[in-house]
């Protein structure tokens, strides 16, 4: 198991190195110049944001069905990675947006949705932190996951409708770029590399979580004193000294 994780991590590093060199090797894009290189980070981050969210939801549903804490660990791990990449997607989008649109933020439906996703993730992680008991935590976070599944499509449609009503002057979109073959190749390399990084982080995080649980189970098996053992008969004489 450990060797396989190690290989996966080496693969992730190699993938990132390859994607980075490819991203730096392609010639500057015709209209946006070097700025277009930001897409090599931005788009894979968005992809991972949605991928990890989906994994969290599937794992939550699987937990509710099987009640196996393995699924809960997967859900939590994926959400942690997801919040990082959602943040990265928003941040890289802002860095790209400022020189392109002249503003850090625009009220585009996709931007709003990504921000919503970020906050839902944060809330999900805060909910996990606030519950100590492993089973209660698993159940509550899985149920919140289900609530989010029901609500997020509605959020999506409402935001899209809202934007269609307030269509502003069309803005330059990443999709409007001229994609020549070397650019596309570097782009695909970045997508693959990010995905491998995600899988490596996920596997490592799940392993860490299950080790934590094992340690706890071991402590429980051993002679960890029960809560009541901490209370002894009051000894008034010792206070006299």
């Amino acid at each position: 198991m450990t060797t396989r994780i190690r290989l996966l991590e080496i693969g992730a590093f190699a993938g990132i190195a390859a994607a980075l060199s490819a991203a730096l090797a392609v010639p500057p894009e015709a209209t946006q110049g070097d700025l277009a290189r930001m897409l090599f980070v931005h788009v894979p981050s968005i992809w991972l944001a949605y991928l990890s969210f989906t994994v969290t939801l599937v794992a939550s549903a699987a937990y509710l069905k099987t009640k196996s804490l393995r699924w809960d660990r997967a859900a939590g791990a994926s959400a942690e990675i997801g919040v990082v990449f959602t943040g990265a997607a928003i941040l890289s989008g802002m860095i790209w947006g400022k020189p392109t649109w002249g503003v850090w933020w625009t009220w585009d439906a996709r931007l709003v949705l990504t921000a919503v996703l970020f906050f839902v993730y944060l809330g999900y992680l805060a909910l996990r932190r606030s519950t100590e008991d492993p089973t209660a935590r698993a159940r509550r976070s899985a149920i919140f996951g289900m609530l989010a599944v029901v609500q997020i499509p509605i959020v999506h449609f409402s935001v899209v409708w809202w934007r269609t009503l307030h269509q502003q002057a069309s803005i330059a979109r990443p999709g409007g770029l001229e994609m020549d073959p070397p650019f596309v190749a570097a782009f695909l390399a970045a997508l693959v590399a990010f995905t491998v990084v995600y899988v490596a982080l996920l596997v490592r995080r799940i392993e860490l979580a299950s080790t934590e649980d094992e340690i706890e189970a071991a402590l429980r098996r051993s002679d960890l004193p029960v809560a009541g053992a901490a209370v002894v008969t009051p000894d008034l004489r010792s206070a006299d000294v």
Partner: protein
């Protein structure tokens, strides 16, 4: 031999990450009243909450009135369990009568039951007083009134007789005898081994997360 009212097997309960009960076995037979004593923090309340189906075991199994406490059937047996916790549970902004009527409505009892129950616990004259304006003992009595509305098959008392006057202690005594006479069971928990002289069939001591026969 009929089925036990409460059956806890190899029960272990952790609260958060702290073990409270460990490998505990307890069986309460129909018509039996059991007293459990123990020091502060020894896990008496935790044990009672498992028997009330409010807490699920971390390890082992717990069956109450023939129902596994983790199954959905626990929602159906709850009204037949009379659980009196160590803090009064009345809704503070409601009067004693409103509190009792609310319980009656959920339990399917009638309004005349409410006034007779309040009369039996000696609170007729105070029934229109808000719970948060009543003393501890009065709130306790009002909780006992709820038990008179729908006589339970299992009584769980957590220090129920503490802080009560002699009349109210007699009420506890009566409730206990009544459930036992009807073939139900009772678990009474208190700090004192004597359990205030309540009529108990046996007494156990909770120590180190487990039960032993009281000395």
């Amino acid at each position: 031999m009929s089925a036990p009212v409460v059956s806890l097997r190899a029960l272990g309960v952790d609260l958060g990450r702290t073990p409270v009960l460990r490998d505990l076995d307890l069986e309460v037979a129909p018509g039996e009243a059991v007293g459990i004593s123990g020091a502060n923090g020894s896990g008496k309340t935790t044990l009672l909450r498992v028997a009330a189906t409010l807490l699920t075991p971390t390890t082992g199994t717990a069956e109450v009135l023939g129902v596994d406490v983790t199954s959905d059937a626990r929602f159906d047996v709850r009204p037949t369990i009379g659980f009196i916790g160590h803090t009064p549970s009345l809704f503070p902004h409601l009067t004693l009568a409103e509190n009792t009527s609310f319980a009656a409505e959920l339990l399917g009892a009638t309004i005349s039951d409410v006034s007779s129950a309040l009369a039996q616990v000696g609170l007729s004259a105070a029934s229109s007083r808000r719970a948060d304006h009543c003393s501890f003992g009065m709130q306790r009595r009002a909780e006992f009134a709820t038990l008179l509305l729908a006589p339970p098959r299992l009584l769980l008392f957590d220090e129920a007789q503490a802080g009560l006057d002699s009349g109210a202690v007699e009420l506890v005594d009566h409730l206990l005898k009544d459930v036992v006479a009807r073939g139900g069971g009772a678990i009474v928990v208190s700090h004192q081994r004597a359990h205030g002289g309540l009529p108990l069939d046996r007494t156990l001591e909770l120590d180190n997360g487990n039960l032993e026969v009281a000395a």
